[in-house]
């Protein structure tokens, strides 16, 4: 965005549509954002003159407690949503570590955390969505029932679209009961592959298996009467006796700090150690973490120089899909942050249909979309 960009903060879906129509009337380009916790993610945006910020579009529209379904406006903070539904013993099964993030931002960036092993990612929680297109058209898909196959699923298309197809006005998500008890089985591991193989063979059905570069933490949740037995059996098969009932402070944290390069490498499940080895080889000194069993390894790398960053990313792409999630400006300028994309011409056609003038978050997404 340009330094003198105008910021608009709609308070309703109708406001949001008005803002979009004004943008179109002015032939302007617009950045859409929530709380801004992931403004460093994605490719560099081309210049925009308007910022639409959803943080005042933040009402809970309906919490159907008996149905475990929540409809909430996009600007509501995930933390606030969790607190509200926790009062009813429920949770939204999304735990990306950016705790100030808005629900719309989490969906638009497909941000996920440790719980993805059991519950999946934002696409899997979403059962309905209302969006506003660049010309102000308001449209919804899905609904507020957990089972529904009527019509195309725009929610999945908008999940992870980084605001390039339209602005998310509100979402309807399914909720989960908060399990009464938890145990964390921890085992030291320089390479997490063997631990995963043992967890995968077990029938513990863990909620999450996280590796922080040194230790694998397995989160087991369930009934009070059950978790201890499940955790002990699992600990036995992992050769550890470390069982606690509190999550480590770093559980699910992204392994990079501001100013560093944050990398996400995805892999087939059997290739976890291969992915870890490649990251250690190509990014010397990097901090690593993994959503074990989900096929995602993260790396945080203090930047040496742009050229070596580019070379490292190129080398990693021969191992698995590698996204430069967050990085300093100079690195983002020099590196293709998204990497090769399948069916990119089809994605361009989708973009052209939804945002024919390419006004929304221009340049932020794959292939310059």
């Amino acid at each position: 965005m340009s330094s003198d960009a105008v910021t608009v903060t709609p308070e309703s879906t109708a406001d949001l549509a008005d803002a979009m129509r004004a943008v179109e009337a002015d032939d302007a380009r617009v950045s859409i954002r929530g709380a801004g916790t992931k403004q460093g993610w994605g490719a560099l945006s081309r210049e925009t003159s308007v910022v639409i910020e959803t943080t005042r579009l933040a009402r809970v529209i309906e919490h159907a407690t008996g149905d475990l379904v929540l409809t909430v406006e996009a600007g509501a903070r995930l933390t606030d949503v969790q607190n509200a539904v926790a009062a009813h013993g429920q949770r939204l099964a999304l735990d990306p570590p950016e705790r100030d993030a808005t629900i719309g931002g989490v969906v638009a960036s497909a941000a996920s955390g440790p719980w993805r092993l059991r519950y999946g990612t934002p696409r899997d929680q979403l059962i309905g969505i209302t969006v506003v297109l660049a010309d102000g058209t308001i449209a919804k898909s899905g609904g507020k029932v957990v089972k529904n196959v009527a019509g195309y699923d725009l929610g999945k298309l908008f999940t992870g679209s980084f605001g390039t197809l339209g602005a998310i006005a509100s979402v309807t998500v399914k909720l989960q009961p908060i399990p009464p008890a938890m145990r964390i089985v921890s085992v030291a591991a320089d390479e997490p592959g063997a631990v995963w193989a043992a967890v995968a063979r077990s029938t513990a059905e863990p909620t999450a298996v996280e590796w922080d570069g040194r230790t694998v933490h397995v989160l087991v949740e369930g009934a009070h009467a059950a978790v201890e037995a499940i955790a002990s059996t699992l600990a036995g098969s992992l050769g550890t006796t470390t069982i606690t009932d509190t999550l480590p402070a770093t559980f699910g944290a992204r392994p990079w700090s501001p100013g560093e390069i944050g990398i996400k490498l995805t892999h087939r499940l059997s290739a976890l150690d291969t992915a870890v080895a490649a990251l250690r080889r190509e990014l010397p000194g990097a901090r690593l973490s993994a959503h074990v069993g989900s096929g995602v390894v993260w790396a945080g790398w203090p930047v040496a120089d742009v050229a070596s960053a580019r070379a490292a990313v190129e080398a990693l792409r021969t191992v698995g899909s590698t996204v430069v999630v967050d990085a300093p400006f100079e690195v983002k300028q020099a590196v293709d942050v998204w990497g090769p994309v399948a069916a990119v011409s089809l994605m361009r056609r989708i973009k052209d249909q939804f945002d024919p003038d390419h006004r929304l978050n221009p340049g932020r997404f794959v292939d310059g979309i």
Binding site: G89, A150, G151, L157, I178, I230, L269, Q353
Partner: protein
């Protein structure tokens, strides 16, 4: 180019035995599982490879001939209803299981592979494929992808969309694209998410990569008999309210129990006004804890008999009545309509009451079998065509969908919109909603040749902007389409 010319072209490229032009043979494909709609296809092809599918689609595209893909033909919404002027592409010869990689928790199959085959292949390794539509012994994975099929156990495990990690698709112009694969989170728009459940309107899947799951340590199946549907409903609310997430909760009413008894002698408790089947699976300790809680909730809600299936044989016996229910109503009624609607779970009791009132005011009996855990109703509307009840039965069936919508539900939970329910789409969605959905269609299939006339009540010309339609629809003016 005429269909006859296309037929000889396809015969030359795919071989004699892959093209059907004989009217009697074509008739085999005139409908899917919803037999109320029939149309003899202009031409049927049965490709064996992705290259052949791509060739057929590309030629159709070049000649502006519409085409429809079909799997096993078990769909219940007329989604695979063929066109007289078009080509029906039958995928049932693509039946190779290309890979079962347990360590990756993935299998790669061709679209004609039957759903149950996946779990059969995975079972020796202690794994299974979760989506289990009740037609799983015959329905194909390609059809499951098109319909985003669920099943009794989707309460815990989700639908096909949650279990597909990769697709090879032939787009409506014949282009082949590989989407996703073994690794998660493919970069870019979630095209797999857009494709799964698009009812064959965005292209044809020629290879599907699915997630395999570790089989649960323990499975516990409880049959609970209640005097009334209200009591059974209260038990469901109590179970869910207690934070228990069973793999499945199924409910049947007295009429469907009667039918199931007549058909398969499932031996459900006598005098039951409703039965619940509650299946729990997971780690043994968890299942044990939840199991006793479920029994308590059922008893507290008035269950007069609880039966715990202790082994696979008993489990099969419990499920037998439920799984046979659709076909079984044939024992108690000359004709019937299987409806598929969804309501918020908490509205179940009210909607069932409304359905009962509707049945008594119209004299049309309705048997209820449903996935109680997720509010997915399958009312079976019973009638006798020979007594002239068809129209009244259809009215009742439509009215049930309206009841679902009035309670904030959906017109279809798993059978799809297809040909059957496209009129009702306008009840559930605004014109803008439908136009915006069709932007996706326009990106995939601008020429509107891929399973046209399904899902949407009003086709749109690609290039129009949503919400800016004035006067009569251009396709309508051109006499190509009707507006419902």
């Amino acid at each position: 180019m005429t269909l006859a010319a296309l037929a000889s072209d396809f015969t030359r490229v795919l071989g004699d035995d892959s093209v059907i032009t004989e009217r009697a043979a074509l008739r085999t494909y005139e409908c899917d599982g919803l037999t109320a709609y029939r149309c003899i296809p202009g031409l049927v092809v049965l490709p064996r490879t992705t290259a052949q599918v791509s060739y057929v689609v590309r030629r159709c595209h070049e000649e502006s001939v519409p085409f429809v893909a079909r799997g096993s033909g078990t769909g219940l919404s007329g989604g695979a209803l063929p066109m007289e002027t078009g080509v029906l592409i039958v995928m049932s010869r693509m039946t190779n299981v290309r890979a079962v990689d347990i360590e990756d928790e993935r299998a790669v199959v061709e679209p004609g592979v039957v759903n149950l085959e996946l779990s059969r292949r995975a079972a020796p390794h202690g794994y299974f494929y979760a989506p289990d539509p009740s037609s799983q012994q015959v329905c194909s994975i390609g059809g499951n992808v098109a319909e985003n099929s669920g099943g009794a156990h989707c309460l815990k495990y989700g639908f096909t969309a949650h279990h597909v990690t990769g697709l090879e698709v032939v787009l409506p112009d014949g282009t082949v694209e590989k989407l996703g694969g073994y690794a998660p989170d493919p970069v870019g728009y979630d095209l797999i998410g857009a494709f799964v459940g698009s009812e064959g309107t965005l292209g044809i899947a020629t290879e599907v990569t699915v997630r395999l799951m570790r089989a649960p340590e323990s499975v516990r199946t409880l049959l609970a008999a209640f005097r009334t549907m209200d009591d059974a409903g209260a038990a469901v609310s109590a179970i869910i309210g207690a934070g228990i997430l069973p793999a499945a909760i199924e409910m049947m009413d007295a009429l469907s129990i009667e039918a199931a008894e007549a058909a398969v002698a499932c031996g459900y408790p006598a005098g039951a006004g409703a039965v619940l089947i509650v299946e729990l699976d997971g780690p043994a300790a968890q299942v044990e804890a939840d199991g006793s809680a479920v029994e308590d909730h059922c008893s507290a809600a008035g269950a007069f008999e609880l039966r715990l299936a202790v082994d696979d044989a008993e489990r099969a016996q419990v499920w037998r009545g439920r799984k046979s229910a659709f076909a079984a109503v044939g024992r108690i009624s000359a004709d019937y309509i299987v409806q598929d609607g969804v309501v918020p779970r908490t509205a179940l009791a009210e909607v069932l009451g409304d359905i009962a009132a509707l049945a008594s005011s119209t004299g049309i009996r309705v048997a209820n079998v449903f996935h109680a855990g997720d509010g997915n109703l399958h009312p079976l509307v019973l009638f006798d065509e020979s007594k002239g009840e068809t129209e009244r039965a259809e009215e009742v069936s439509t009215r049930i969908l309206e009841l679902c919508l009035e309670h904030g539900g959906s017109i279809t939970g798993e059978h799809g919109v297809g040909h059957d329910k496209k009129k009702q789409m306008s009840r559930m969605f605004t014109a803008d909603d439908l136009d915006v959905m069709q932007l996706v269609r326009c990106a995939f299939d601008p020429a509107s040749l891929c399973n046209p006339g399904k899902v949407f009540p009003t086709p749109r010309l690609c290039g129009e902007r949503p919400g800016r339609r004035t006067g009569a629809h251009p396709l309508q003016e051109a006499g190509v389409a009707d507006v419902f």
